[in-house]
């Protein structure tokens, strides 16, 4: 019965819907509305439980238990938090720019949530819409999010907020460049901007682009973390310096909207990283379900695969946040402009060269299998091996080249500044003379 309930629904709902609507309405309006509802609900719930997970994971890393009081193992904590935030006073500072102050959180949330419309959560009906410029759309819309931060920082009319807004504008603008450039390497293999197309290219090649593009993946991940204002790049809201950065003056539900936007943006970046580099919903051997006729099971398992990959990247987010100290503002800019963007550029050039090389080596056709299956490269096994090797070489080459370029920069040598402090043993009871040259006065032990 359970199996039936799992695999029956789509056709059943389709039949039900076709009694009320025309087939075109079903395809273009009703199904998307259902999908959007499901996605918004799932993402909103995830955001709530993302905070729970983060609190639990951070607690475990810090050898404590985290929320334990509301419900079993504190599972109802997000609900209690949400209720608290809803009932809190929505405080607006006297001199704030009221309308901008009102609307900034909505911009943040909308910018984060709209992106989910093009993310392929699975094959077939698990995609809301497949835009042929999906990736471009993702980058374009997610960069609207920076507007919310700047406006919020400006409208609060508080100096901490202003500094936070300024930092966020500089940070997000510069890291978007690196993020966009990093994706180009992946697109060269997929030869399409459609996110579903990118997944399809990986599925038909039976390979994840992370093995072709390790450098691109790393650059994208680092840029993504910075783009989301997450530690170690959480400067716009650095709590020890700017109190809370751009949302210092926000409270209650407006503040929670910012919070939701942050977590939703994390999911977005993880979803894009999963789609472009980790094969999206593709996993080896799952397609056998499709072959043996279990279409809906195939979709659901693929969706679960996607969620698991997404969760791994999200765990990485939490892991980094609770391990690493925070960068300083100028160092952050250094990393963005001196490391990530140049390495993304080197990666593009090297990837283009290696794609060219692999094709040229084989007279443009031998390494490719079924020309018309997807828009992707469709390499043979030999081609894949060569490409993986070139990917690793590219990673080392990028790192090495940048190390050479940045050889003279100050923070590059910091590792060597791990120095040992001197231990001097002064004989006890000597007169209290503060000598600025202790080595002369005391013996080094």
């Amino acid at each position: 019965m359970i199996m039936l309930a799992l695999f029956a629904p789509v056709n059943f709902i389709n039949d039900l819907l076709s009694r009320f609507f025309a087939p075109e309405t079903i395809n273009n309006v009703v199904w998307p509305v259902i999908q959007i509802g499901v996605v918004v609900t799932v993402v909103a719930t995830w955001v709530a439980y993302g905070t729970y997970l983060e609190r639990k994971i951070s607690a475990f890393m810090q050898a404590r238990l985290g929320p334990m009081r509301v419900g079993p193992w504190g599972l109802l904590q997000p609900i209690a938090d949400g209720l608290k935030l809803l009932t809190k006073e929505d405080f607006i500072p006297e001199k704030a720019d009221r309308w901008i102050f009102f609307f900034a959180p909505y911009i943040a949330v909308v910018a984060a949530f709209v992106v989910f419309s093009v993310i392929p959560f699975g094959p077939d009906w698990a995609v809301i819409t497949d835009v042929n410029i999906g990736l471009l759309f993702v980058i374009a819309v997610s960069s609207v999010g920076v507007l919310a931060l700047i406006l919020a920082g400006w409208a609060s009319n508080s100096k901490y907020s202003l500094l936070g807004g300024l930092r966020s504008s500089a940070q997000m603008v510069s890291y978007e460049v690196g993020m966009g450039l990093a994706l180009i390497g992946g697109i060269m293999f997929a030869r399409t901007l459609s996110l579903s197309g990118i997944v399809a290219a990986q599925a038909f090649d039976s390979i994840w682009f992370i093995v072709y593009q390790p450098a691109g993946f790393l650059i994208f991940l680092v840029s993504g973390i910075a783009e989301n204002n997450r530690a170690p790049f959480d400067l716009p809201e650095a709590e020890s310096e700017l109190v809370a950065g751009f949302h210092t003056e926000y409270s209650g539900f407006r503040w929670s909207l910012f919070f939701m936007a942050e977590y939703a943006a994390m999911v977005v970046v993880s979803a894009v990283a999963t789609t472009v580099y980790l094969g999206g919903w593709y996993f080896p051997f799952v397609y056998k379900l499709e072959v043996s006729g279990w279409h809906n099971a195939y979709v659901i398992v693929s969706f679960l695969v996607f969620i698991i990959k997404l969760s791994l990247i999200l765990y990485l987010y939490f892991w980094l946040r609770w391990t690493l100290p925070r960068f300083r503002y100028d160092q952050l800019m250094d990393i963005g402009w001196k490391w990530l963007i140049p390495s993304a550029l080197i990666n593009i050039v090297f990837t283009a060269f290696s794609v060219f090389l692999v094709q040229a080596l084989d007279g443009w056709h031998g390494l490719r299998t079924i020309e018309s299956m997807t828009q992707g490269l469709n390499l043979t096994a030999t081609g894949k091996v060569i490409m993986i090797g070139l990917g690793l070489v590219g990673l080392l080459l990028t790192g090495g080249l940048l190390s050479l370029i940045n050889w003279r920069s100050r923070d590059f040598h910091l590792k060597s500044q791990r120095r040992n402090i001197r231990l001097v043993s002064v004989p006890s009871g000597t007169s209290a003379v503060a000598s600025t040259r202790p080595a002369a006065a005391a013996t080094e032990s």
């Binding site: 994971i57 607690a59 475990f60 890393m61 810090q62 050898a63 404590r64 238990l65 334990m68 892991w319 980094l320 609770w322 391990t323 690493l324 790192g399 090495g400 190390s403 100050r410 040598h413 590792k415 060597s416 500044q417 120095r419």
Partner: protein
């Protein structure tokens, strides 16, 4: 901004730096903690989670703890041990103890004598800093700071303890869930 002295790194250091060893080591440690806490195992002390689940699990308070004050009574006769000597009030740096004595007529060995006995004892816990000087000053081990540490009340007046509260203890709700 003057720069500090920089040593040249050797090749191994350069290599380690190139492959992000320093960051990975820290990440490895937090991952170890994460797994260790989930299984409640710790490599050094054995127990991964070190926090106390306070209202659920009552903390293990040391016998010497300086907490809520108490006036001890003779376990057999249930008379107060306090002899109204006022030493505790004199020893208190914060001046938060008031000992009010009264004279009663007692017959000692057939003769009527006036004896000073305790009438009322005021202890202001809102001003007390639990230094235990009063406890040390008490010649009869009457005034004692106990292990009870839950002293919060709903009003300022509730911090002022009288003799009855000091002898019987204050009724508090012990939350256990």
């Amino acid at each position: 901004m003057s720069l500090v002295k920089v040593q040249k790194p050797d090749f191994i250091q350069k290599l380690k730096r190139f492959f992000l060893f320093d960051l990975l080591k820290g990440l490895g440690l937090t991952l170890k903690y994460n797994i260790g806490a989930a299984t409640d195992k710790d490599s050094v002390a054995g127990k991964g989670i070190y926090t106390e689940q306070y209202p659920k699990v009552r903390p293990d308070v040391a016998p010497r703890f300086h907490g809520a004050p108490r006036l001890n009574m003779d376990p057999e006769t249930h008379d107060t041990l306090c002899i109204a000597c006022n030493l505790c009030a004199l020893a208190c740096p914060e001046d938060c103890i008031d000992v009010l004595a009264m004279d009663v007529e007692v017959v000692v060995a057939g003769k009527p004598r006036r004896k000073k006995v305790l009438d009322e004892f005021i202890f202001d816990t809102s001003r007390c800093m639990f230094c235990a000087l009063c406890q040390e000053a008490c010649p009869t081990s009457c005034l004692e700071l106990t292990q009870d540490f839950e002293l919060a009340t709903y009003s300022r007046a509730g911090f002022v303890w009288n003799r009855e509260m000091l002898e019987q203890g204050r009724e508090t709700v012990k939350y256990t869930s």
